[in-house]
Symmetry: C2
Subunit: 231 residues, 2 copies
DNA sequence: CGCGATATTGACCTGAGTCAATATACGTGG
DNA sequence: CCACGTATATTGACTCAGGTCAATATCGCG
């Protein structure tokens, strides 16, 4: 599924390895193994023992938390080049979320202990990892604030803008989000129901801020959407 | 406010320095400067340039996010020995939250660059920091899930249990949370209003799960509270 | 003891959840 | 290439948790 060229490309672009010499990356490459997943397949389950660190070589991975009542929450959608899974490997740790192949996915993954060794040997790598975690922590805190104080319309606007920045490509209809994104996905991302997500999306479309259809969304008025998020 | 003995004690117990030899900690100590804050004083503002890493030497610090509408969100309450502020110091970064002295507070703080140097020289320290960040990220994700799917009663139960674990001391009335905690604090922690927080707290008290009064809370039936959080 | 900050309580209102019926896009196979 | 069937999306009517506004009660400090 991924050939050697893609592997080296992906690994070299992983934010924490960027800056390492090619030869090092080749060494590190040997520690990674690759695997493909069909759409909808589960990469790992919440609460199973956290053993590996993954990188998305191709496709999109969503990180979910489940509840017994069946209302799932999507914490993040990851794009090519992003990583997930066990960064920390404090032995007996378990994954705190479920990783789901949202599209067909190819991953590269490394044993937690091996990754720790890399960290010990390359302090700049460790610092990069910290920076990324700090960034993710900020995003999570931002989401906490949003969920605490804003309306669903505001949350949706925020999520769409984030996704637009991350996965948007200019298109004749607007900034098209390159990810199949249904109403239920939007609901899981904003802590609401598919019905409410649908209503609000229709509203946003009526206001000319977005264009949307079956499992796709495009942003047509970014400043307008951004204005909604000002709480 | 903090004498040398306390400083060394606090620094030595900071999770990321634990394990370093005493002599090293003395060196590191020289890089830290101390400062006291009156109750309610602000340690740093959200969006101001993030220059320093802080540790709580004494008192309690709350990390807040503000909104223009005035509805604030409390992201965390920090106890003696916990750290906050700029871990990452990617130069032009700004603080993503406001740090508030919830009680009289004494902090030890270090210049971001100096901390980075320590990280580079001591890989195990960097790995410890990563572990802590991973833990905080989990907590934030857990809060996202709670805010997305649970009732206010469930969120309150969860927050109280967390605080009980972190700051609880056995007492004749129950597990007393060692932190002045008013209804508005609880509201900011759970994304609701003081009125609703008040109603739910009364309810929990009526059910015999907690005891509460003016700015204090004790848990009297921990399993009972825990049962509420199962979503 | 009296005052101000904190907490409670009530009445009312609204955003969003729920349940249910209907409409529409898209992939598939004939 | 079209028609069908299914997954997805929309829309409506109703309900309710929790927000809002406002009045009252209470704690604990000076």
């Amino acid at each position: 599924m991924c050939d050697l060229k893609l592997r080296l490309y992906i690994l070299g672009r992983l934010p924490f390895f960027s800056g390492l010499p090619d030869s090092k990356i080749r060494d590190i490459n040997a520690l990674f193994s690759e695997r493909g997943y069909a759409m909808g397949e589960i990469i790992y389950f919440e609460k199973s023992p956290a053993k590996r660190l993954y990188a998305v070589a191709d496709g999109h991975v969503k990180l979910m938390r489940h509840t017994v009542s069946g209302k799932d929450v999507m914490l993040n959608v990851l794009n090519q080049g992003e990583f997930f899974g066990s960064l920390t490997h404090a032995q007996d740790d378990n994954y705190s979320e479920t990783a789901h192949a949202h599209t067909p996915v190819c991953t590269l993954s490394i044993e937690g202990n091996d990754f720790r060794q890399i960290l010990s040997r390359h302090p700049p790598v460790a610092i990069k990892v910290m920076d990324i975690m700090a960034h993710r922590l900020r995003e999570a805190h931002e989401m906490v604030r949003l969920l605490s104080v804003s309306s669903i319309e505001q949350r949706l606007a925020h999520v769409l803008l984030k996704l637009g920045d991350k996965l948007g490509e200019a298109d004749d209809v607007g900034l098209l989000i390159q990810l199949p994104l249904g109403r239920s996905d939007l609901a899981e991302l904003t802590g609401t129901t598919t019905e409410t997500a649908s209503r609000v999306m229709s509203q946003l479309q009526k206001e000319g801020l977005i264009q949307t259809g079956r499992r796709w969304v495009a942003i047509t008025n970014k400043p307008g959407l951004a204005a909604l998020t000002e709480i």
